[in-house]
């Protein structure tokens, strides 16, 4: 009975725990995905590769050559072909490092060609392309599929068998091979003239499938992006959050101490005024705070980002509640021994309140780390002091959303705080429920 109940409790808790950390897992997965894969619901690498679609004309009038160049690191690729008068023609990027260029109306013959990859000349094989017959299509060097008046000869280079060609009409053909050069070939006859598109399906290793889906390059791209210096944003966030936490803890500890242990004029009234501001929507302060920060010349400064928030009433309340549990007798004893007011505070109150001070430090740090709106309005869009959330928001607005890179950026925001939390989770959880100091 008892173990059955425990079992259900565990199931419930595990499901909840999964749901609770699902966003983090999802973020990590997407951050590792290849460009353009974020919105595809594909996570397990497949051992069957599918090529991109190619088009071909059966019974066409002109010889057409389609050059294809594959290099993932290339930025711009030009092709220089003899039949095009050796002019440099820029090739179209089709993503995933595939560049293509198409030439039509070429007389049969043998021609020289070369690629210019980011300004560097690349010659493949003997640097020659053979354009055969009146109707051929050529895709050097990887893919040499050709068409005649009524047939297509498929050619595909692969390291593994089987290779299959699938035509847009639904026809399929297995390619035979490989030949000495590593090509698989097959001929499909009796095709009516017209435009066709086809793709290849080929066997590949599991790691090739993995590489098609995942990459580490998003992290590199985010870290070394010229327009969005994430390392700098990260450092800014760190500085702002740390300064805010230190100052808040200092102010709240001093304030909480007197509210807990001193009897002074106006104590009750002051405390209720302070607490009342907790009830007021925070946005009410935003406009005037912005005015003050502007007047002080604190736009685009660290001070402007954190100083307005260091008088934290919640923190003061937290410290007061905790310090009230410190026995008065300790202070009396210290007073009898001749301790000054400052000594009573720094030697008794502060050391005994360390746990709650750490808790407050962490709460403020975390709050400031993700404080978005205020840091957004106190920084102009070109400010060098932008913090991570602001940087991320601009990252989203600036371009078409590049989800993979954005998630990689998000990792830099989430992972440090997660590690901090895991290291200090005792203070987060126990701090807020703590029973205080025992005599």
């Amino acid at each position: 009975m008892r173990s059955l109940k425990d079992f259900f409790v565990y199931i419930l808790l595990s499901v909840g725990a999964m749901l609770s950390i699902l966003p983090i897992i999802w973020m990590l997965v997407i951050a590792c995905k290849q460009q353009g894969q974020a919105l595809r619901f594909e996570f397990l690498p497949s051992t069957i590769g599918i090529s991109q679609p190619y088009s071909i004309k059966v019974g066409g009038k002109y010889n057409t050559v389609i050059f294809e160049y594959v290099n993932e690191d290339a930025q711009t690729v030009f092709v220089k072909a003899e039949f095009a008068g050796d002019k440099e023609v820029e090739m179209l990027s089709e993503g995933q490092g595939i560049f293509t260029a198409r030439f039509e109306g070429i007389t049969a013959g043998q021609y020289r060609y070369s690629f210019l990859v980011d300004g560097e000349e690349v010659v493949e094989g003997n640097g020659l392309i053979k354009v055969e017959g009146e109707y051929s299509y050529n895709h050097p060097p990887r893919n040499g599929t050709t068409a005649t008046e009524s047939s297509i000869t498929f050619r595909f280079r692969s390291s593994r068998s089987p290779v299959k060609a699938i035509l847009s009409t639904g026809q399929q053909i297995d390619l035979a091979g490989p030949d000495a050069a590593g090509y698989f070939t097959a001929q499909l006859n009796d095709l009516p003239a017209g435009d066709y598109s086809y793709r290849f399906e080929y066997a590949r290793s599991w790691t090739e499938g993995l590489a098609e889906l995942y990459t580490y390059k998003n992290f590199v791209a985010v870290l070394f992006n010229k327009d969005f210096p994430f390392l700098k944003f990260f450092l800014n966030s760190l500085i702002v959050a740390t300064l805010a936490a230190i100052f808040t803890v200092a102010l709240c500890t001093a304030g909480g101490y007197v509210f807990a242990k001193k009897n002074f004029y106006g104590k009750e009234v002051l405390f209720y005024i302070l607490l009342a501001t907790m009830l007021v929507p925070g946005l009410i302060f935003m406009v005037p705070q912005f005015v003050i920060v502007t007047k002080l010349g604190w736009i685009n400064t660290y001070a402007g980002m954190f100083v307005p928030h260091i008088a934290n009433v919640f923190g003061l309340y937290l410290l007061r509640q905790y310090m009230e549990t410190i026995p008065d007798s300790l202070f009396e004893a210290a007073r009898i021994d001749g301790a000054t007011e400052w000594q009573q505070f720094s030697v008794i109150a502060v050391p005994l309140s360390m746990p709650i001070m750490v808790t407050l430090f962490l709460l403020v740090f975390v709050g400031q780390w993700s404080n978005f709106l205020w840091q957004y309005i106190t920084n102009t869009p070109d400010s060098p002091l932008r913090t991570l959330p602001v940087g991320l928001a601009l990252f989203k607005g600036q371009y078409d959303i590049r989800w993979e890179q954005m998630m990689a950026g998000a990792c830099f925001s989430v992972i440090p705080i997660t590690i901090l939390f895991l290291l200090a989770q005792r203070f987060f959880i126990e701090g807020m429920t703590s029973g205080g100091v025992k005599e």
Binding site: A250, L251, L283, F285, F372, T418
Partner: protein, 311 residues
């Protein structure tokens, strides 16, 4: 007389200790609250010098308040905020209490679960919101794929549909904040003496009766605290909508008809206030803030009354 001397000395010392806190408080909280009130009666003319917009503001009396009260979008934003509170507050109380009850059992790995449930609390709301946008995106997002496996199709996706956008954002926020409620309830439940439950068990109380007649009444202060903070959060809600409202339709989320106007289905008051602020209508934004404060005070007053009569 002697007592007063002691108190006077203590007062001097106390205010010295309080000086840094009070200075920052007065400059950045006290003065702004009053200044906000001041500019809520003023407005900047169209010809205003935008580098000295606050200096060129002119007194307009209650015009800002009147304009807002006559603005359909203002009322709509309050309605959205009300719905948002209605979604988030009860569900975060239920979730927090549920987790606290589950984790109050003496289980192995209890601390592990507490840590995991609290973790989302420390994460950036903007970032978490953005991740959820990805998970909720139509056709490809995890949630949408799972829903279509169950043959549930929501046009535009959960965030793009005017009927589901706001509750979805609310639930994401509830899920993220569940750990905080859990901790508060947990500390309250742990303060309930075991003997109360034992006595109930002897009297043959069921688990439901123990929850209804022992646990819930004894954690009522936490429930009320969560209602008040939940109200504040709903009135202040901005980041979550900014991050998650469908950017396809601007920041207010998918459009819905309200009166003769098209309004954003997720246009919460915090977001609408921000949009007014962004347009440079600082006087109106301040008036908006004060109207929100009045609502907040009314709500917390009702809550306080509720607390008092129940005690």
């Amino acid at each position: 007389m002697k007592f007063d001397k002691v108190k006077l000395r203590e007062s001097v010392v106390s205010y010295l200790f309080l000086a840094p806190f009070l200075t920052v408080f007065v400059v950045f909280l006290g003065y702004p609250a009053l200044y906000s009130l001041y500019i809520s009666f003023r407005t900047a003319p169209f010809s205003a010098d935008w580098y000295n917009v606050f200096g060129s503001m002119q007194y307009v009396g209650l015009a800002n308040y009147r304009e807002l009260l006559a603005d359909n979008r203002f009322w709509w934003s309050l309605f959205c905020t009300f719905i948002y509170g209605l979604v988030t507050i009860p569900s975060s109380i239920a979730l927090g209490l549920g987790l606290a009850i589950l984790l109050n059992n003496k289980l192995k790995g209890r601390n592990f679960f507490r840590t995991v449930f609290y973790l989302p609390n420390v994460l950036d709301l903007y970032v978490v919101g953005t991740i959820w946008v990805l998970m909720l995106s139509p056709n490809y997002g995890l949630v949408d794929v799972l829903l279509s496996k169950l043959h549930i199709h929501i046009s535009g996706g959960l965030l793009g549909n005017p009927w589901t956008a706001l509750p979805t954002i609310g639930l994401v926020v509830v899920l993220k904040g569940a750990g905080f409620g859990m901790i508060l309830f947990l500390s309250a439940i742990q303060n309930i003496p075991e003997s109360v439950y034992e006595a109930a068990e002897i009297d043959g109380a069921t688990a439901w009766q123990k929850l209804r007649y022992i646990t819930i009444p004894l954690v009522k202060p936490v429930i009320l605290f969560m209602i008040i903070t939940g109200t504040m959060n709903a009135l202040n809600a901005f980041t979550e909508v900014y991050a998650m409202a469908s950017t396809k339709y601007g920041y207010g989320g998918p459009f819905i008809k309200f009166g003769n106007e098209s309004v954003g289905a997720t246009s919460l008051s915090g977001l609408y206030l921000y949009l007014i602020f962004e347009r440079g209508e600082y006087g109106k934004a301040a008036a908006f803030s004060y109207l929100l404060m009045i609502f907040a005070l009314i709500i917390s007053f009702i809550n306080q009354r509720f607390l008092r009569t129940e005690k």
